[in-house]
């Protein structure tokens, strides 16, 4: 079973790579998707105006753009990319499940398994998103890229043999805690992609044409990316909060204190505060959206630090040391 799991992981990584190739083909041949163009219309700011207050003047509806020549080959490549991503996700799921069967438990006993699980969450969330909002498809290239990077690192650097859990990890609160952490981390991971692309795209819109900005040419419109970023973060943040709280409840039962500033706890706190800062910044009109988005990116870096850095650099009570 454990070998099957490893094999499936390789299959998944290769499939994500293939999905990237398909997306890149769409990039090369396709035109920007119709809705993405539609979304370029300046979105009217919704301001909280009391009734009777003067309404903000309406912007004229955007003139319908010239009908884009249907770029069939591009669209086909794009659709194929989504299907390949779904297949990759299946292999990925298979890898996680077989590993769980081999270990006779949930797959979050160590860093390797945790990375496998959160990337699976991110892929699943992405597939849900892209079926409901096909116009976001162009983002898939970067989602697949993130998966390849994360899974590749996990497989090559953090690989751990299947093993049982330590006694302290056998608790239902632990399951709740880690499930919540894995789920929210997966969504934050997915949210990181539009956040990056938003910064790139808005740079492109401002006329920057050097390397990372050229990537922004075909991704969905900046405003759409920014809102997607916010949606994903607003969705993940309460779950992350819950996961941290569940961890505290578990720590109380296992170690006698709900919070002890162990490095892992400290970094969970840091991530929480940074993401809270993001939500604040986004709600503050005088803070630019790009500044807010940078805070979200910083938040993800702190999550990565917690996931990887803390395990490598610090010793704490959290027995995730399976490096």
């Amino acid at each position: 079973m454990a070998e099957l799991s490893n094999l499936l992981l390789v299959v998944a990584i290769l499939a994500y790579l293939l999905a990237m190739v398909c997306h890149a083909a769409e990039y090369a041949f396709g035109s920007r998707s119709v809705v993405a163009r539609a979304a370029t219309r300046p979105a009217r700011e919704l301001v909280a105006v009391g009734a009777g207050a003067p309404m903000k003047a309406d912007l004229p509806p955007a003139p319908p753009g010239p009908p884009a020549p249907p770029a069939r080959s591009g669209a086909i490549a794009g659709r194929a990319a989504v299907i390949v991503t779904a297949l990759a996700g299946l292999a990925h799921l298979g890898s996680v499940v077989t590993r769980g069967v081999a270990a006779q438990r949930f797959t979050w006993g160590n860093m390797y398994e945790f990375a496998l699980t959160i990337t699976l969450v991110a892929t699943a969330a992405w597939l849900v998103l892209v079926t409901r909002r096909p116009e976001l498809r162009h983002l898939g290239l970067f989602v697949a890229l993130a998966m390849v990077l994360m899974l590749g690192t996990a497989g090559m650097v953090f690989y751990t043999e299947v093993g049982p859990l330590m006694p302290a990890l056998k608790s239902s609160w632990f399951i709740v805690h880690v499930a919540g952490a894995a789920f929210s981390s997966g969504i934050f991971l997915l949210g990181f992609v539009p956040a990056m692309m938003y910064l790139i795209r808005s740079g492109y819109d401002r006329g920057k044409r050097s390397f990372p900005y050229t990537l922004g040419r075909r991704v969905p419109a900046a405003a759409a990316l920014e809102r997607l970023t916010f949606r994903l973060h607003a969705f993940a943040f309460p779950i992350w909060t819950f996961a941290v709280a569940a961890g505290a409840i578990w720590a109380e039962a296992a170690w006698g204190r709900y919070w002890g500033w162990d490095p892992k706890e400290t970094w969970a706190f840091i991530s929480w505060v940074v993401y809270a800062g993001y939500l604040h910044a986004r709600a503050t009109p005088s803070v630019k959206r790009s500044t807010a988005t940078w805070i979200a990116i910083l938040g993800f870096l702190t999550m990565l630090m917690n996931l990887i850095g803390v395990n490598l650099f610090f010793s704490g009570l959290h027995s995730y040391a399976g490096v």
Partner: protein, 549 residues
């Protein structure tokens, strides 16, 4: 998420310049500055940054040994860091300053918002704007009979807050969001209060407890190996109880990985009959006013020494483990050995000490002194005997786990022999005809006893926090209006115009759908004639409904 107005500077401040009243203006401006969203943001950011050294440097509250090791490694830097609070970041003045400022800002921010919100909750939904067709959502209801009371009833059924006025119905929904937001921020204060109470009135102690009634311990500070007492607490405030470890069960897998631990104790609490309880790693023993946690375990070899006068003494000392397979090291000391029973005279040079290595599973084929497995599958004890002055009376604190190296270096304590591997029941006769017997082992448990009176407050606050957060992120404030314009005023041909308008007050991509459904509901399912005055497609949902939905 709404676009909140910044609370920085309400323009209401009249120009009181003439009086040059800076003594008022300065603190007031400072207060406004402090309670602005930007300041909150900066303080949040500072809080995150300030926490980083707490994970990089060893913290005294987490692990004292690591702090001491840091001192050894960086003898110059450590005292400087100490002065800066680097080893107690979360209790340092600068960390406290940041969160206290943040919470001051928080209070200053939510009190006015609370007031505004309560006012908004009590006030009726506002009158309809003059031109409903300028609103983001607008519809004309051609087939409608103009019965506003039916519309109001339908709205009420859908739990809108409704006010019917002359010719119009105003309705509002989603105060939920701001309620949640305020709950969330208020609960943060609850968390802080709970944490504060815990650190003032909480206490904890660590204790290594060897099995057996002769090793029972009672809850007083002297009986703890290490303890911490909240500043508002007196040692006599500790609840009285006694614990005796009767059994300890540790299960291991063949690989040596621990599988489960369970300690069984006799508990004697004041005012109750002694009772038997067992607890394990994730389910502590909950007593009245204290919880007992299982942190670790090990073996305490029972060693009997018979001295040259034929008198026997038994020592049961815990040997802390030094690796994952429970290779354990410790000492057995007999300071009262070889006291002449006739004269009662003690000869300090005849004290006995044994440095020991205990292997729960002794390897049979190698000479490596390492246990193969943490369970007692093939226990063996290796002893090195020392005779001489143990140096216990010198007043210098010494470890109970190692012999006093100074005495050995000074030649006052001399090695007098090394044993072979002793099995349970084996006797080793030393050169002077004295005897050592290995009688077996007793388990010991490392316990942490704690009480934190703020725990419940923090837990409840965290629950409120989460609820408030979800309400705040999922809630959407919006208003709708219905108006009947009598014939004549209307530009349409029909006798009267019934129209509806909607305004989302927070970012709410699904509002168009909700509005359309609402209009359909009040017209009895008929589609409205004109759905949007603004050319914003109803069906085009520009947002993923993920997230806040």
């Amino acid at each position: 998420m709404s676009q909140v107005d910044e609370r920085t500077a309400p323009p209401a401040a009249p120009p009181t310049r003439r009086r040059a009243n800076w003594a008022v203006a300065l603190p007031r401006n400072a207060w406004r500055q402090l309670t602005s969203m930007r300041t909150a943001l900066v303080l949040l950011f500072l809080l995150a940054v300030a926490a980083i050294p707490g994970s990089v440097l060893p913290q005294r509250s987490v692990n004292v040994d690591q702090v001491n090791a840091y001192y050894d490694r960086h003898p110059k830097l450590a005292p400087v860091l100490e002065r800066l609070g680097g080893f107690e970041v979360f209790a340092s003045p600068w960390f406290s300053a940041i969160y206290l400022l943040l919470f001051t800002s928080l209070v200053g921010c939510i009190l006015p918002r609370l007031r505004d919100h309560l006012r908004a909750l009590r006030s009726a939904p506002p009158d309809a704007p003059r031109r409903l067709d300028r609103l983001p959502q607008h519809a004309v209801l051609p087939g409608h009979d103009g019965d506003l009371s039916a519309i109001a009833a339908e709205l009420r059924r859908q739990r809108w807050r409704v006010v019917a006025r002359e010719g119009t119905v105003s309705a509002e929904k989603g105060h939920f969001k701001e309620t949640g937001n305020l709950l969330f921020h208020l609960s943060l204060i609850g968390v802080l209060v709970g944490v504060g109470l815990g650190s003032w009135y909480g206490w904890h102690g660590n204790r290594l407890l060897v099995a057996g009634s002769d090793h029972a311990f009672c809850n007083t500070l002297q009986q703890y190996d290490e303890y911490g007492l909240g500043p508002r607490l007196h040692p006599t405030d500790l609840p009285p109880f006694c614990l005796e470890l009767t059994d300890f069960e540790a299960k291991f897998l063949d690989s040596g990985q621990p599988d489960s631990y369970r300690a069984t104790v006799n508990v004697d609490e004041a005012g109750g009959a002694p009772r038997r309880e067992s607890f394990s790693v994730n389910s502590p023993l909950r007593l009245d006013g204290a919880n007992v946690y299982l942190l670790g375990h090990g073996y305490a070899p029972v060693i009997r020494y018979t001295d040259r006068y034929g008198r026997s003494q038994t020592s049961v000392v815990p040997f802390p483990e030094s690796d994952a397979t429970m290779t354990s090291q410790g000492v057995a000391m007999f300071p009262d050995a070889n006291v002449d029973p006739k004269t009662g005279e003690r000869d300090p040079s005849l004290q006995m000490g044994f440095q020991g290595l205990y292997l729960p599973t002794t390897p049979t084929d190698t000479f490596e002194a390492r246990s193969l497995h943490p369970a007692e599958r093939n226990p063996g004890l290796l002893l090195v005997a020392y005779r001489g002055d143990l140096g216990l009376g010198t007043g210098i604190p010494s470890s109970v786990y190692v012999l006093n190296q100074r005495q050995i270096d000074d030649g006052k304590l001399e090695e007098v022999g090394r044993s072979k591997v002793l099995r349970k029941g084996d006797t080793w006769t030393l050169g002077d005809d004295t005897k050592v017997e290995f009688l077996g082992t007793r388990p010991f448990a490392v316990l942490s006893v704690r009480h934190d009176p703020g725990e419940m407050i923090v837990l409840v606050s965290a629950g409120v926090l989460l609820t408030g957060l979800m309400m705040s992120l999922a809630g959407r404030r919006r208003r709708v209006w219905f108006r009947v314009t009598p014939a004549g005023d209307s530009t349409t041909a029909s006798s009267r115009l019934v129209e509806a308008g909607g305004l989302p007050r927070t970012d709410y991509p699904g509002f168009a759908d909700e509005f359309a459904a609402l209009v359909a509901a009040v017209t009895g399912g008929e589609p409205a004639a004109e759905r949007s005055a603004n050319g914003r497609g109803q069906r085009d949902r520009p947002e993923p409904r993920e997230g806040t939905d």
